[in-house]
Symmetry: C2
Subunit: 658 residues, 2 copies
């Protein structure tokens, strides 16, 4: 990844702009020649020769913003000439963006495809497709490594050659590679190096048809690892809402559905939980416009009505996903939806294998974290907390720590409450062995500890994991531990005997631990150098602002228990840590604006500390490492370097205010 990879063209067709995010999941705007589409978006697949719902209806009644049609099929049909003469938009009667497929899926279905890459790409360009697809080579899940490798190579060659025929059309390059993650990743990387606009993940329909969702996840993740993060990613053939949440969570932006019609012809009703034979429907369980005035028998007798229902619920699921991203509860949403089928639950369970990758894109989330099952302790935000405790935490006194078991608690209290109670009881510095791993008492207010809600009865799996996390922590070896497993009554007593039973200036200990947790081991020494003063809220009694030697260095956010970095704090961190730590390096064009407090746009970012995560506090610097501003990153390094549009750092204070 480097700056030169950015497409040189100035066309906005196919360009993506990030609006809101939750890790890899994102709400974005995809620009096309026929208008802008909010993603994630579902593209109903329409066949002009067989319309169950007309494109006009799709636009007006279903508020569909983008369609998909198969150029290969049109190319072979009677509509070919009309499409060439009138263009695909007039042929379909749809003013919005249209994506076209090239026939690769027909290769899967019929074993062959009777068109050349050149023909189908030129045809797509000629009929005015907004997003046209190069003819990729479909790999079957059971294909050998050699076959898949050859398919990838041919796919890449065709994408490369298609560039010459695309004209103004945004070109879609499809990731293939069968079930070989390294091939998928390499294919994604190579495609990323071409001046394409949109990517697709292909060869996945057989996985979805066979409920091989764990394999599907491997395929999506491998593709995403290879692909640049600034391009929209389409998951080919995913038309059932059962997978939408999971796929969006992994960074897919576009879906296409012919399922709404296919299922209807087959008498099946789509729900977010699967599919129901409409003959089994007795009670009307849906409010969608198709169902609003219908009885079960209407859906049984009217295929079109059933297709409309199927499309309505599919579109609604994406609205639910977007709302979940907006609320910061996408993980809860997906964990729930993965209970739709045991194969989806299995897929969810395998996500922990990719937690390091997911964590790189994870933003800090507002609001509560709800535990839904043993999978929840592997969320990227929880993994980050554990990792930062391991790497960045050091206790206020090196001689000892108490380790406390969790106490039973009512739901009105979160971890913070327990920890504080234990602290008062034990009068000792303590680490609680929690479901999320060891929690030093000073970090009791930090996300996700204070914001999480768990059942009292933990799953055995979580208890075992907690033990393992604690051992990892203990293995660091720079503490002596007094283990406490008894009930609350004896805590004080034990605390006296325990090696780490010390009284702390809790405000100071907390400030140190949070600063290290957030900015890196040792950050607190510099940020809190000198005489430290904590200004508390008169209303809540909680710390709001931190001054060091009279300088306002930090403010504490109640929401996530982390600091907002003030310019004075930024100056201290800038002195203490060498480049590239915490830095976002901007180009000369951008520097004067950032110096005066303006936001950093992604296209002006030259480099960035690779430890920076979305919503982390950062230092904005120029080429000579002059501190220009402090602010909050909205992207990680990969994204800052890739995106052409959008804000990379929300600047809080420039070094030279206006």
């Amino acid at each position: 990844m480097c700056k030169e990879l950015r497409p040189s063209g100035s066309s906005l067709n196919g360009m993506l702009e990030l609006r809101e995010r939750s890790g890899l999941a994102r709400i974005a705007r995809l620009s096309t020649r026929h208008g802008t589409v909010e993603t994630p978006a579902l593209m109903p697949v329409v066949n002009p020769a067989n319309l169950i719902i007309s494109p006009k209806d799709l636009a007006e009644r279903f508020k569909v913003s983008i369609l998909m049609t198969n150029a290969y099929i049109i190319h072979r049909s009677e509509n070919r000439e009309r499409a060439l003469q009138e263009g695909i938009h007039r042929l379909l009667g749809f003013d919005g963006p249209i994506m076209t497929d090239s026939g690769a899926f027909q290769q899967h279905v019929y074993g062959r495809v009777d068109v050349s890459n050149e023909k189908v790409v030129r045809f797509q360009e000629a009929i005015g497709s907004d997003l046209g697809t190069a003819l990729d080579v479909f790999s079957e899940p059971d294909d050998s490594r050699e076959t898949c490798q050859a398919a990838v190579e041919e796919t890449l060659r065709r994408c490369e050659e298609a560039l010459q025929w695309r004209g103004d059309m945004a070109l879609v390059g499809t990731v293939q590679g069968g079930l070989y993650p390294d091939l998928r990743e390499a294919c994604g990387k190579s495609l990323s190096e071409m001046p394409l606009q949109v990517h697709a993940i292909g060869g996945v329909v057989p996985l979805m048809e066979g409920y091989r969702f764990a394999d599907l996840i491997e395929v999506i993740v491998a593709g995403k690892k290879g692909l640049r993060p600034d391009r929209a990613v389409h998951l080919f053939g995913a038309g059932h809402p059962i997978t939408f949440g999971l796929a969006v969570l992994l960074g897919c932006d576009l879906f296409d559905s012919s399922s709404y019609a296919k299922y209807a012809y087959d008498g099946r009703m789509i729900t977010p939980w699967g599919t129901l034979k409409v003959s089994q429907l007795k009670h009307m369980t849906c409010h969608c416009p198709a169902c609003a005035d219908a009885e079960p028998k209407d859906l049984r007798e009217n295929v079109r009505l059933l297709a409309e229902h199927n499309l309505h619920v599919s579109l609604l699921e994406l609205e639910e996903v977007k709302q979940a991203i907006h609320q910061g509860i996408l993980w809860e949403h997906v964990e729930r939806r993965c209970r739709a089928h045991p194969a989806l639950l299995e897929a969810l369970k395998t996500l922990r294998r990719h937690v390091d990758f997911l964590e790189r894109y994870e933003n800090l989330v507002d609001g509560s974290l709800f535990y839904t099952g043993p999978e929840s302790i592997w969320r990227p935000s929880v993994h980050r907390f554990r990792r930062r405790v391991l790497q960045r935490y050091s206790p206020p006194e090196a001689q000892g720590l108490l380790i406390l078991p969790e106490a039973p608690r009512p739901y009105s209290r979160t971890y913070a409450g327990i920890l504080q109670r234990l602290y008062r009881k034990a009068k000792a510095h303590a680490v609680v062995k929690s479901a999320f791993g060891p929690v030093p008492i000073e970090l009791d207010g930090v996300y996700p500890i204070a914001q999480s809600v768990l059942p009292r009865q933990l799953d055995v799996e979580v208890i075992e994991a907690s033990e393992i996390f604690l051992r990892e922590f203990v293995r660091l070896g720079h503490f002596a531990f007094g283990m406490l497993w008894e009930g609350e009554e004896t805590l004080e007593e034990l605390a006296k005997r325990a090696p780490g039973a010390i009284s702390l200036d809790m405000d100071m200990a907390r400030a140190r631990a949070i600063a290290d947790h957030q900015f890196g081991a040792g950050a607190s020494k510099h940020l809190l150098r000198g005489k430290v003063e904590h200004v508390k809220s008169r209303k809540t009694g909680k710390i709001r602002n931190v001054y060091a030697d009279g300088e306002h260095v930090l403010s504490l956010r109640a929401r996530d228990g982390l600091y907002t970095l003030k310019l004075a704090g930024g100056v201290r961190l800038h002195k203490a840590f060498k480049s590239p730590r915490l830095r976002v390096l901007v180009s000369e064009e951008s520097a004067p604006f950032n110096l005066q407090g303006k936001n950093v746009f992604a296209k002006f970012v030259m480099d960035c500390d690779e430890e920076v995560r979305p919503l982390d506090e950062v230092l904005v610097v120029d080429d000579a490492d002059n501190l220009l501003a402090v602010g909050r990153a909205l992207m990680n390094r990969e994204e800052m370097l890739a995106f052409q549009r959008g804000v990379a750092v929300k600047v809080r204070e420039g070094s030279k205010p206006l």
Copy 2:
């Protein structure tokens, strides 16, 4: 429980008739003077002095079939006289059934209530309430045992005395008892002995407000254990759909909601997953009539619209619950919904404590069993399978059994597939150590083994439980075991050395095991006495009919892998097992009809084997234990003895056909 408990009155007002069921959950018809209500039903609470949605709208636009209003509040309001003159139905402008509350909840809110039991019961009767409530004494969750005991005694006294004032009104008796399950159960029992029509579970609002759902479950279960099963049960104050599924699963039939309005006034939007501040709503995630043409800002600005949404989604959740009962997937539905909040998940986890009680009411379920998490292995249907294996299974050769670990498998195969593969490999009689406990290979087609779908990666909790179940099985001690833990390649080899490596007549072994599993240990000896012939389907090659000495004794259902009992089989079982085993004893009035193949109605059942479960095959006998018919029970003993309406046994063949 005995026949005399049946209410002697002939009025149908308040009477319940079972239509469909899933364990304690049921779809039923509640008769009232103002028409029949399908339960489970939600009663919107209306206050005539402050109508946010008019009763006319509720009936016409919301299809609400029953309302609730507070008699105590009307009694103290300006509407008192009008209510007395015109009746409550004209006052509210609602033709359907109306339930009235008595003021007990106001005691909880205000600490006192300014009305006597006599006054409020007489008032309810006078205004023509269909279901009127005696003034129960509300116990707070933290009340002492003594306080709760006194509250129960006073509640019972008031119900008893209220009988004299009720007239034709159906009287609701409320279970109290705080958090003391024994008090709750005893209260339920005493109420069941009174000629009341409907019951309620009271004192639960503070539990729901505090997310104490595990406590809520204890309270509901204790109440249900005490209450007769033929009366509708109302869960007082449960108006948020988050709890509907769970409460219905535990046998609640009626809910009341003022939440739809209260939440709306507070700017909160109800969803099946909880509550959302409407200020957080950005994407329209609902299709309900209120949301159909609305933008988020409309819901923010229009309280009435928000209240309508809240009511629509609450009503829809009950339709989903009913559809889930109809499809036999209520457990899946509830397990999913319990992921709405960690406190609900905790409640779900505590259900296993009551699995013996739940199993008594569990019917055999059609269709697949989807695993949603470690809680799934504690479903009553799975518990029943384990219990019957422990109590009823004996291996074809006593000298040995192989115990096989589960093999990895694709989703297209269920347990049956694995078991058969293992059997073919091992050429030995085998028991598989499955997630559900030990499964003898002959039972591989029996529900839930052949019908279940699980993720490949099992939760640690399930693996541990599986180990424990196996030990229980081994502890029976009448087998010698050869344990197999190696990979598939060595199975055959090991089988040769294993003590139980025997070749079986698999059809016969299967027939024996299924017959014992279904009808009791030893049943197969009698059912399959003589020369046994298995008639297989020409299409599927599977066994359809079983003949013994030329008599058609059994048919095998493909759906659940269990037998349908033919009359000849019934005759054999009747001879082999003494009364009351497998019997349903009917009165003289009923006998001649059943003899000719007519169904058994509940009101004619005099007694029943207490091991009979809904959908079990049974023998219908008269007082002298003459076999009248064979058929399928639709109820368990408690229900047969309690219900006044509905079919107790669906008779298949009478001893004397017409």
